[in-house]
Structure formats: C-alpha cells, structure tokens
C-alpha cells in the first residue's frame, strides 16, 4: 500500500500548488461566491483523484499499446508499412479527439460558415497522419530532428505571410487541441517503441520529438485551409458567459458530457489494440488483462479529471481573470498570470507521462525535477505575456510567436539533440486539458474586463503561447546542461548532428 500512498503524494504535490494559489486569491483580491468556491474545492479533489488514476492507467495501458505498436512498425522493416501505419494511427487518434471537434466548430463559426466543420476535422487529421508518418520515417532513417523542424517551420512561416492574424492564432491553437490527454501519451510511446526497437547510437534522443512533429500537422492544415477558403476576418461572437449556480448541478451536467467525450478517443485505440493483438502481438493472458485494466483506469481517471477541471476550475478561472482585470491597478493580472502558469502546468496529465519517459530513457540522467522547473518557468512567461498582450492593444500575437519559434528553431541547432526532441514534445504536452481550460478561461475573463480587448480574438492565441514557450525554455535548459557538463568534463553525447 506504500506504493499507492507514494503515487498519491506525487499527484497531490502537482495539483495542490494551483489550488492553494486560487484559495489565496479568493481570500485576498478576488472573493468568489461560496457556491463556486465549494465547487472549486470539489473540483480539486476530483482532479487529484482523476489524475492519479489516469497516470496509473496511462502507464500500463496507453503507453504499453503505443510501445507495442511502435515496435511492430519498426519490425516490419518495410517503408510502405511505416508510411501507412503512421498515417492511419495519426489520422484515427486525431479525428477522435474531442478538443479538435470543438475547435472545428469554433473555426466554422469564426469563418462565417465558409469552412464546414467536418472538412476541418478531416484536413487536420490528414495533417497529423502525414506528420506522424514523416516522424516515423525520420526515426528509422536517422534524419536529424532539428533539420526537419527548421524546414517545416520555414514552410509555416511562408504560409503565415498569407494568413490573417486571427487564423494564425487558430492554427497554432489547433496544434494544442490535437495533442489531448489521451493522444499525447500514445504518440510519445509510439515514438519510443519505434526508436528503442531500432536501437543504434541515436536511439535515446530519437525517442522524443514525435509529438512535436505531429503537432505541426494541424498548423499546416489550418493555414492551408484558410488560404484556400480565403476567410480573412473572424466573424461571430464569443459565447456568452453565464455563471452556473448551485454546487452539484454543473457537476452532473459535465459528468454526462465527459462520460461520452472521454470514451471517444479511447475507442479507436481499443479497436486497434484488439486487432493488433489478434494478428500480431499475441500477448499472454496476463499482459493483455493488464492493458485492458490500464485502459479502464485511463478512462475513469480522465472522466474524473475533466469533470473536475470543467465544473470546478473553469468558472473560477474566468471570474478571477475578470475580477483582477477590472481592478484599478490591473498590472496585477500579468503577475498572477505568471504564478498561475507556473503552477498549472504541473497538474497537466501528459507532463507526468513525458517526464517519466525522459527518466526511463536516460536512466535518470535528466531528472524529472529539472524538466518540471524549466517547463514551469516557460509556461509562467507564456501566460504572463499573453496577459500583457490582452492589456496592451498594440501588442500582437505574432510579435511573440515569430521570435519565439525562430529562437526555438535556432536553438535546436545549438543544444544536445535529446533536448530538441524533448522541447518540441513538451510544446504539445503542456497545452493539455488543464492549461487549455483554466488558463484560457482566465484569459477570456481578463479580456472581458478590458475594453480594448476582444474576447474572441484574444482568447485564441493563449494556447499558442503555451505551446511555443516550452520550445525555448527546455532548449535553454539543454544549453545550460551542455555548458555545465562541458565545464565539469562530462560527455553529454553531443554529437551535433
């Protein structure tokens, strides 16, 4: 039972900081109604329990399936199998992602209906499919990650010249939307499986980067759609915000939604696993049972987590954002945003999966704590700068994204290759359900209170910042690692590919 306790402590220490911060804000700057506060506390408990169960499940369920499939793909040793499997897996898990379906609707209404939602869904999924296939090829043919990123981001930059600012935000947001809580651990594990089976000198560093590559697919897809459809201005109104009353009502409502939503991305994984198991893996009974148990945990955990976040956290975020921004000295908003960003990323499910994988691959050489530290700092700046952008009308999203991504690509040629993969993966990992919901709500709340801000336009783009900053933060960490190691005379395996 020690084991369970220990896991529980782990999860507790990643959720409590954000809960405590909100409580402090409640008692000092922005008091919220009792109902909402109670809901937030219930939400925190659900998030803690849900995250714990989810992580257990991800470990023995999704991760195992991803690894097995990755190994199977690598074992096939045929280019067309890799291409087809990569594409099919990428396509299927993306099209089933609930966040993407929400985004598709948003884009549809934002473009005034000129881009139908199903088209967006299919095009983005094709984008991810192609990128996953390319990512797998890269691992098998040992093509350097930084060159691939440089090429694709250059294409994105060129396309970006034709894309309106609103759609720039939407396209980068789309990359955050497709890397959901269920798909990110799967893609991470897939990359790990392929690269570990392939082996070779670069197998450790090649275990990372697939999420980063996959999340470029949606950016390309949405940009191309925008250029073809030619919608320039975002039309439509932001959804009118109404605070729920009562304590249990919102929970029941969210519960009935999430019980469906969390199942959708699980089904294709389950079907694929059963099919693969029958024809390829032929696992022994215990192993198969374990994986099924894992999937059940993932499902239960994710439902509890999402219900907690949506019913408990979202409204508090919105109210806090609004309350702080309408205060006379609203310079406090970026500061609170900074703290919020720092703590919220710790409660992100996929962050735990990524840091564990890093420890496993490097045998503990790159400790979890250091990655969390850098990630926290990165997201803190991301949220802080997003708030500044909302408050200062002259500041545009691309003022941050362009130098950010440029710096990210530049650094990828300077740091040890393993950090390049980790950093680009972390971009997709950090923009998960917790950040997407809570930070987005906070930003929208603040935008609501500031007359010069537009809720719809400024709401988009927060996730983009969260997806961009880890590239810089973790690669800077890699740089420090390299310099430090060189001074101490340790070889960091810097092959400088």
């Amino acid at each position: 039972m020690d084991l369970l306790l220990e896991k529980f402590r782990d999860v507790l220490s990643s959720v409590l900081p954000i809960s405590i911060l909100v409580m402090i804000l409640n008692f000092t700057l922005v008091p919220v109604e009792t109902d909402i506060l109670i809901r937030f506390i219930i939400g925190s408990v659900l998030v803690i329990i849900g995250l714990g169960i989810f992580l257990f499940g991800a470990d023995i369920g999704i991760t195992s399936i991803g690894n097995l499939m990755g190994e199977e793909i690598a074992r096939s040793n045929r280019a067309y199998v890799v291409a087809i499997m990569g594409f099919v897996l990428g396509f299927i898990i993306t099209i089933a992602e609930p966040d993407l379906q929400i985004l598709a609707h948003e884009v549809n209404s934002a473009s005034g209906g000129s881009i139908p939602a199903p088209l967006i869904l299919v095009v983005v999924s094709i984008g991810v499919g192609i990128m996953v296939a390319i990512g797998l090829f890269r691992i098998l043919y040992e093509k350097p990650l930084n060159k691939l990123y440089t090429i694709v981001y250059f294409i994105i930059f060129i396309l970006g010249l034709w894309v309106s600012e609103e759609f720039l935000a939407i396209s980068v947001d789309a990359s955050g939307a497709t890397t959901g809580a269920m798909t990110t651990p799967f893609i991470l594990a897939l990359g790990l499986g392929v690269s570990q089976l392939k082996g070779g000198k670069t197998s450790d560093e090649d275990s990372f980067g697939l999420v980063g590559i996959a999340s470029m697919g949606p950016i390309l897809a949405v940009m191309i759609l925008n250029i073809i459809a030619g919608a320039d201005k975002i039309v439509g109104e932001a959804e009118v915000f109404r605070a729920h009353s009562g304590v249990l009502g919102p929970y029941l409502e969210e519960f009935s939604i999430m019980i469906k939503e969390a199942a959708i991305p699980l089904i294709p994984l389950l079907v694929l696993f059963i099919a693969f198991d029958m024809f390829k893996f032929k696992l022994n009974r215990n192993r198969r049972k374990r994986i099924f148990k894992g999937l059940i945990y993932t499902y239960i955990g994710l439902v509890l987590f999402l219900v907690g976040v949506n019913a408990g956290f979202m409204e508090v975020g919105r109210i806090m954002g609004y309350g702080l921004a309408s205060m006379p000295n609203n310079w406090i908003v970026p500061i609170v945003g900074f703290l919020l960003g720092m703590m919220v990323v710790l409660a992100e499910p996929a962050v735990h999966v990524l840091t564990k994988q890093i420890e496993d691959v490097t045998s503990g050489h790159i400790p979890r704590k250091i990655i969390l530290f850098a990630l926290s700092a990165g997201i803190a700046f991301a949220v802080c700068m997003s708030m500044l952008r909302i408050m200062i009308p002259g500041l545009k999203l691309w003022h941050f994204l362009l130098p950010g991504f440029a710096l990210g690509v530049f650094l990828s040629h300077k740091v040890p290759p393993i950090f390049v993969g980790i950093a680009f993966d972390a971009g997709g990992v950090a923009s998960g359900p917790m950040t997407a919901t809570f930070v987005l709500a906070f930003a929208q709340g603040a935008a609501n209170a500031i007359p010069t801000a537009n809720v719809l336009v400024d709401g988009f783009g927060v996730i983009a910042m969260v997806a961009m900053m880890p590239l810089v933060a973790l690669q800077l960490l890699g740089l420090v690692f390299k310099v430090k190691a060189r001074r101490e005379g340790i070889d960091v395996n810097d092959t400088g590919r």
Partner: protein, 223 residues
C-alpha cells in the same frame, strides 16, 4: 579509484531500491568512503493481492552497483540498513558479490589470478566494463579483437568521485554504458587488457573494469 585497491579483496555491492532513492544511497555510501557507483533501472513486483487485482503491482526500481573493499562491506551494510530501514519490507535490498579482479589505473598489465576452484567446470568469468555512454561499441570491438564472442550492453547512469555537476541544486549524473562479457578463463586477461588499452581506462574518469567469478554457464556457444 586508487591503486591501493589492487591488492585488497574487493566486492561488488548491489542495492535495489525504489526509483529515486538510489542517489541518496550513493551519497550516504560516499560518506563512508565509496568512490562511485552506477545505476541501472529496472522493474520490480510487489506481493500484495489487492494491488495484484488492480494491476498496480509493478514498481520502478533502481539497481545501484558499487565496487568497494570487502572490509567496508559490514560498515556499509549496517549504515545503509539503519539509515534507509532496509530491514523493513519494501525498503530495498542489498547484496554483495566477490570480485576476482579490478583493472584500474596502475599501468600494470592485468594478469588473471585464478582462485582455488573446486571443479573443472568453473572456467568462465564475467567481465564488467563501465564507460561513458556511447563507448560500448569500442569496448565490444576491443573485446572481440582479443577473442571474445560478444557482449551485452546495459544503459545506466553513474557518478564517480569527481564527475558530478549540479544544476539548480539537483545533481546531474552522467549516462553510462555497462558492458557484460562472459569469457573463458584463459581469455579474460587478453580481453581485459585489450579493453583497457583501447579505452585508456587507466586515466581517471575513463571508466572501470572488474571481473566476477562465474560458477556455471548455460547457452554459451563454443567453437
């Protein structure tokens, strides 16, 4: 590692603990005079029927290998047991294996000095080489040139006496490759010397080689 070790009886001290504990153990051991250690990652199981049913019976483990003087064994064992409560269940285990020889920085050629052996079938030795990550190919190459048929590479991380860097007050332990080679007794000396020369093991911080007696082997291919 110093040359004093050469003439003393040595042992390989192994500690298996839950993931994350290893560095603490190594730190405590260093205080008692251990010069360094290497970590491997593994999985352990828990015997607990509730956890079994839930499917949560797998734990990440760390295996810490340290080469120490045999005389230090008692003290180290006592100290670790007391400090980390090893006598309680689920707090880790320790064991030690005698080392028949350690190749280190003293410029001398390694000479196999077989101990008294009871029977004829004890004709193998296990050579462990621990070097920086990425050098395993060189080790295997050197070993093969001296007549070895192959080796097994294990990834780990390790910390010697001088090479620990700190980042934000968290210790960074460099990655290592551990190469396990089973060799016939007559070939051990040649293999060890070949590896030693190729990788300059004699220079500080380049790695270590130690040899452990093997009782029986199965499945080895003989020409």
């Amino acid at each position: 590692m110093s040359m004093i070790l050469e003439d003393k009886a040595l042992s390989l001290f192994c500690v298996i603990v839950n993931f994350g504990e290893g560095s603490k153990i190594l730190k405590a051991s260093k205080e008692l005079g251990v010069t360094g250690g290497t970590f491997l990652l593994g999985k352990g199981t828990v015997k607990n029927s509730i956890l079994n049913i839930l499917g949560l019976d797998e734990v990440r483990k760390e295996i810490l290998l340290m080469v120490i003087e045999e005389s230090l064994e008692e003290t180290l064992n006592d100290h670790l047991t007391k400090k980390f409560h090893m006598d309680k269940p689920n707090h880790g285990i320790t064991f030690s294996i005698p080392i028949s020889c350690l190749a280190i920085l003293n410029g001398n050629e390694y000479i196999s000095k077989p101990r008294m052996r009871g029977a004829d079938d004890m004709q193998y030795e296990a050579i462990f080489t621990i070097v920086d990550k990425g050098l395993s190919d060189d080790v295997i190459e050197a070993a093969q040139s001296a007549g070895s048929t192959g080796g097994t590479v294990i990834h780990g991380r390790g910390a010697g006496s001088h090479d620990t860097a700190k980042l934000f007050n968290i210790e960074i332990e460099p990655e290592k490759d551990i190469i396990l080679i089973l060799s016939e007794l007559e070939k051990t000396a040649a293999i060890v010397n070949a590896i030693k020369e190729k990788l300059n093991i004699e220079e500080p911080g380049k790695g270590i080689i130690f040899v452990v007696d093997v009782n029986r082997t199965f499945g080895l291919y003989r020409k």
